[in-house]
């Protein structure tokens, strides 16, 4: 791990100072244009809108809060505002003073399908590399399991992102594990992003405004994870009128309501979703035995504009999954499992002057898993309660300063207080406490200070160079590191560019997971004096091509990522302690993990068409991921379970006619690398006690003969390749006061039996026992139908 140097901090501070001074010197004949870009009907702020000034062949984009700022020499300019799915706006500007221009863009949709003739932001003109913005419209049209629109399942269709097991929404980005993704909802980190044991993500697509995935070339403002950032912004709420959307699906229903508090000044949005399997199954259960499962989630957000310079947003998320079993005979027993996420974000946007924008956020995030068992018989009672969780309190401040169309500065400070509760157990008999492990809490402080310089050199080179200083204090152990970041774009010709990026990342918290499955029982734990932070270095290199006429973008990127101190599980380790939570006092996670290294490299190709009658993408990834741990596989290198040589995703969305859309997805992936037993042999143990008797004169043979597996080499067996075709039809009809949509579709249309897991079983053939390898698949063709209305 890099050691922090005080001189480095001084250099950063000096750099900021020089920049401020130089700005003062040059600002005398320059003026700024700044403002917010909004959607014309709902007045929803639009992040990622392209602002382009042909005269200088440059521009900017709106930030996450829909704000932009450009500083230009005085003169007359044409300014173009464009965003995929919206009518472009072009202004003629006489620029002789600081000007505030708020722009409303009009969405061009016809019967629910974007038919924008305007182009998306040109990828060849941004300095970013390995960043994918997903249009929400496409997320809502991609066919998914049971019709539940899912941000994560759509992200899985992007090159460089692998899914875990069948149906699971976990993300494995460029060889990294699901614990290495920073998932942010309105600035708040989300620790367990899944419902129903990973089959559905917790993010309600109706309430999300934008989604961006960063896989490499990380800007310095992001830190704390090695592999990716998934940044999501919730809608702010309709500022002009009350509106809503409701949907009924096979397993859940959802509702979104939004409207203004005070027109054009403040708005609110609330959305909720709940499953009803438990309600539907209830009549079929006996009075004595009942079991149920449900999940729900709630999103809410309000915002208020205090004058033209200040806006305040308060947003929150809460979701819970609960599985319970009740038996009521002589003894009444109730047991179950529930896990819950909660986040809350209070944000204050302040415009100091047209060039300086700041955001200050106070963030709360909490995740916990609870297991409970209660028994009662007459006056006697017994209860066992197990809890594990993490709670974050974050304060962050980010400042953006626009010096010119060719230079932007971002800087900020993030402070996070993590409170880990890896396991808390309370066992009671009647009122007597048999066991209470409340002391197992770990408090820690994580900090990040960064500077990002976004600049252009001439007309051809654009870059984002930054530095992040991160540190972590826990259990009287202090870790810190400097993390240099750079991404650059060399424009070869108009519409064709060469991109490169380099990023060092540190991750101070770890996820202990059971094998290959993203279960809610996975535990978050901090770095300690024994378990050091994970760190990685990644280089990306790519070519980007825009086809302006067809609004087609092609990127080809190669990457090489090396990670150290990643967490591996020692042979035999299991963290599924809910099997017997009362034993959790014996649980010493540090003894069960071992640090190691990972090397991943590959090539990703993405052909993306974000708008038009036929839109969608083709993604192909060729990749390799190898792991090495001193205490796993006897120190020898091995393929990661999710090492996937080939991964293909084809997504097509087609408007058949006004009001009828068709979408289809086909995916293919090389089978997972697993360790398969190839034989059995006697695991004879030396028994010292028998030896002790032998030594006293009596010869005894070895006396213990368990059968153990010969696994051969680690992860050298490949499961069968995965492939699947999904499709959906959407039928949209616009009535006078509302628009209704029927969606019918199918997941795994040709019912491919994709492997979920393998096991060994014995068949009897000709009076002989024959061991066979069996494959379990979980989803044949799954039809779906949903109905939704928008008003």
């Amino acid at each position: 791990m890099q050691k922090p140097h005080f001189s480095g901090i001084l250099k950063i501070i000096s750099l900021i100072g020089i920049i401020f001074l130089s700005n003062t010197a040059v600002s005398q004949n320059k003026y700024s244009i700044s403002g917010y870009v909004r959607e014309s009907e709902s007045r929803e702020l639009l992040p990622g809108v392209n602002i382009y000034i042909p005269a200088i062949k440059g521009g900017t984009i709106t930030n996450n809060y829909g704000f932009y700022s450009l500083t230009l020499p005085q003169g007359d300019y044409e300014v173009r505002f464009s965003f995929v799915g919206f009518d472009p706006v072009t202004l003629q500007l006489s620029h002789y003073k600081d000007t505030i221009i708020n722009i409303d863009l009009k969405s061009i949709t016809l019967q629910g399908v974007t038919i924008s003739a305007e182009k998306s932001e040109r990828i060849t003109e941004t300095s970013e590399i390995s960043v994918i913005s997903l249009p929400i419209q496409q997320i809502r049209q991609v066919p998914v399991l049971l019709g539940e629109k899912d941000v994560f399942k759509t992200i899985q269709l992007m090159p460089g992102v692998q899914k875990g097991s069948e149906g699971n929404g976990s993300l494995y980005v460029r060889g990294g594990g699901p614990d290495q993704n920073l998932i942010i909802l309105d600035d708040a980190p989300v620790y367990n992003a899944f419902h129903l044991f990973g089959f559905f993500s917790i993010f309600n697509g109706d309430a999300i405004k934008s989604v961006e995935l960063v896989k490499g070339g990380f800007p310095a403002r992001f830190g704390g994870r090695l592999s990716s950032v998934v940044e999501m912004t919730m809608k702010d709420g309709n500022r002009s009128k009350f509106s809503g959307e409701a949907g009924i699906g096979l397993i859940s229903s959802r509702l979104v309501l939004e409207g203004p508090f005070s027109k054009d000044k403040s708005s609110w949005i609330i959305s909720g979703r709940r499953t009803y399997i438990d309600v539907l199954a209830k009549p079929f259960m006996s009075k004595e035995e009942k079991a149920g499962y449900y999940f729900y989630d709630l999103n809410a957000k309000v915002n208020y504009e205090f004058g033209s310079r200040d806006r305040v947003f308060l947003s929150g998320y809460f979701g819970r999954d609960k599985f319970s079993v009740i038996t009521d005979y002589d003894t009444k027993e109730e047991g179950g499992l529930y896990w819950q996420n909660g986040t809350g974000t209070l944000r204050w946007n302040h415009i100091y002057n047209p060039r300086v924008f700041s955001n200050t956020s106070l963030i709360y995030s909490h995740y916990s898993i609870n297991f409970y068992d209660q028994e009662s018989y007459n006056d006697e009672s017994y209860s066992l309660r197990y809890t594990s969780g993490i709670r974050d309190l974050t304060l962050k401040n980010d400042v953006e300063i626009n010096f010119s169309p060719f230079y932007n500065l971002r800087t900020g400070l993030h402070l996070i207080n993590h409170l880990f509760t890896p396991s808390a157990v309370v066992e009671k008999e009647n009122t007597d406490v048999l066991y209470d492990s409340n002391e197992s809490e770990y408090n820690s402080l994580e900090g990040g200070l960064y500077v990002e310089n976004q600049f252009s050199i001439g007309q051809r080179i654009k870059a984002n160079a930054g530095l992040r200083f991160s540190n972590f204090l826990a259990d009287e152990k202090h870790y810190s590191a400097f993390e240099p970041r750079i991404s650059a774009n060399l424009i070869i010709t108009q519409g064709l560019s060469l991109k490169a990026g380099y990023a060092q990342m540190n991750q101070y918290i770890h996820l202990l997971s059971s094998t290959g499955l993203s279960l809610p029982t996975d535990l978050w734990v901090p770095s300690t004096d024994r378990i050091e932070p994970q760190n990685s270095s990644q280089i990306s290199l790519g070519i980007a091509k825009d086809f302006a006429k067809t609004d087609l973008q092609i990127t080809i990127e190669g990457y090489f990522k090396e990670s150290n101190n990643i967490i591996g599980y020692k042979p035999g380790a299991s963290f599924l302690i809910i099997d017997d939570p009362s034993n959790s006092q014996e649980f010493t996670w540090e003894d069960n993990v071992t640090p190691g290294k990972s090397n991943s490299y590959g090539i990703e190709t993405l052909i993306h068409k974000k708008s038009g009658r036929l839109n969608g993408w083709i993604g192909y990834t060729l990749s390799w991921t190898k792991l090495q741990f001193d205490e796993i596989n006897f120190g020898k290198e091995f393929w990661a379970r999710y090492d996937r040589r080939h991964d293909i995703s084809i997504v097509g969305i087609y408007r058949i006619s006004n009001g009828v859309n068709f979408s289809a997805t086909w995916v293919y992936g090389t089978g997972n690398a697993i360790t398969l037993p190839v034989g059995e042999f006697p695991g004879i143990e030396h028994n010292p006690l028998t030896d002790a008797l032998v030594n006293s004169g009596q010869p005894f043979p070895y006396n213990y003969f368990p059968s153990v597996n010969d696994y051969g080499e680690m992860n050298t067996f490949r499961m069968k390749p995965y492939h699947r075709l999904d499709f959906a039809f959407q039928f949209i009809k616009t009535r006078e006061k509302y628009q209704r949509t029927w969606e019918i579709g199918a997941y795994n249309t040709y019912s491919r039996k994709n492997p979920f897991f393998y096991y060994i079983d014995y068949d009897y053939v000709n009076n002989q026992s024959v061991s066979k390898l069996k494959q379990v698949s979980i989803f044949p063709i799954i039809p779906s139908i949903t109905y939704s209305i928008k008003f």
Binding site: G572, L676, F681, H686, V708, Q768, S777
Partner: protein, 292 residues
């Protein structure tokens, strides 16, 4: 196309795909059997022995009527060091290959090599170095009475006991230890049974490595054991200093979780080139502690 036509098309596709069993056989080439050699040698054992088997390949028929592992009885086994060489012969009584200390003395600090060949074409080699140190002293720290209850006969008391012991690691890293605790009971005035059972440990590990713990004191506590009035107990404690092969092999055996899908698969450690199993060494001390 009308809305209804799309629904009919979808239903048709679904009906066509149908529902079949979601468990299917995976065809896989039958692996070849391997030679398995398992042996633990010690300067203190009057005889040192090896067991030699053939592993049972999966995805193939099991030998009918028996789940035993086939013992290889016709192997040629040569044990040799820089100073000596000897053949270990098959012993039908014990179903193993053995050699006495007189024929092949096992000496502290010396490296022993093993070469196994069979008529079927198996060829396996291995080597191990006997630890240089004696085992450290295992000190019995105390016998705790956890409970004392009246038995079915009012004159008989039933005791629940627990023993504590400790030992100190030798200076310098690279030491491996194994401890065990057994119990024998007998009625006063009679001979103890030639049978002991493993009490097991409630605290501390039966296998220890001093990696990152050099020079530490290791404490162990046994599980609870029972005794009653008129009965004597003999506790057997053993402490062994072992080579790394002994430690790694037993550690992976203890971690082996069978088919637990929620545990990492445990590859059993082997230092047998050309096969499976272990050839390793240890030096053991026994401590007898009688409780009356």
């Amino acid at each position: 196309m009308k809305f209804s036509a799309y629904i009919i098309l979808t239903l048709f596709i679904m009906a066509f795909a149908g529902c079949e069993s979601m468990i299917t056989d995976v065809e896989i080439e039958t692996p070849k059997p391997k030679i398995v050699v398992i042996g633990f040698v010690s300067p203190d054992s009057p005889y040192n022995s090896l067991k030699i088997y053939e592993s049972r390949p999966l995805y193939s028929p099991l030998p009918s009527g028996s789940e035993d592992f086939p013992v290889i009885t016709n192997a040629t086994v040569i044990i040799y060091s820089d100073n000596d060489s000897a053949i270990m012969n098959y012993n039908q009584q014990y179903n193993d290959y053995r050699i006495s200390q007189d024929a092949m003395p096992i000496i502290k600090g010396r490296t022993y090599n093993l070469k196994v060949t069979t008529p079927k074409g198996y060829y396996a080699t291995s080597s191990c170095t006997v630890p240089n140190n004696e085992p450290p002293v295992l000190e019995i720290v105390g016998i705790d009475t956890i409970s004392k209850e009246e038995g079915w006969d009012p004159s008989v008391w039933v005791y629940q006991l627990r023993a504590r012991a400790q030992f100190k690691d030798w200076e310098g890293e690279g030491h491996f230890y194994r401890v065990a605790a057994g119990q024998m009971n007998w009625i006063d005035g009679e001979q103890p049974y030639q049978y002991s059972y493993d009490i097991g440990l409630s605290r501390g590990s039966s296998l220890s490595s001093d990696k990152n713990n050099d020079g530490n004191t290791y404490a162990i506590t046994t599980n609870d054991f029972m005794a009653q009035t008129g009965e004597s107990i003999r506790l057997y404690f053993t402490i062994s200093i072992t080579d790394s092969h002994y430690y790694n092999y037993h550690k992976t055996l203890m971690n082996f979780e069978g088919d637990n899908p929620f545990a990492e698969p445990t590859t059993i450690y082997s230092n047998i080139e050309g096969g499976l199993g272990v050839f390793s060494s240890y030096i053991q001390d026994d401590i007898i502690y009688d409780i009356r």
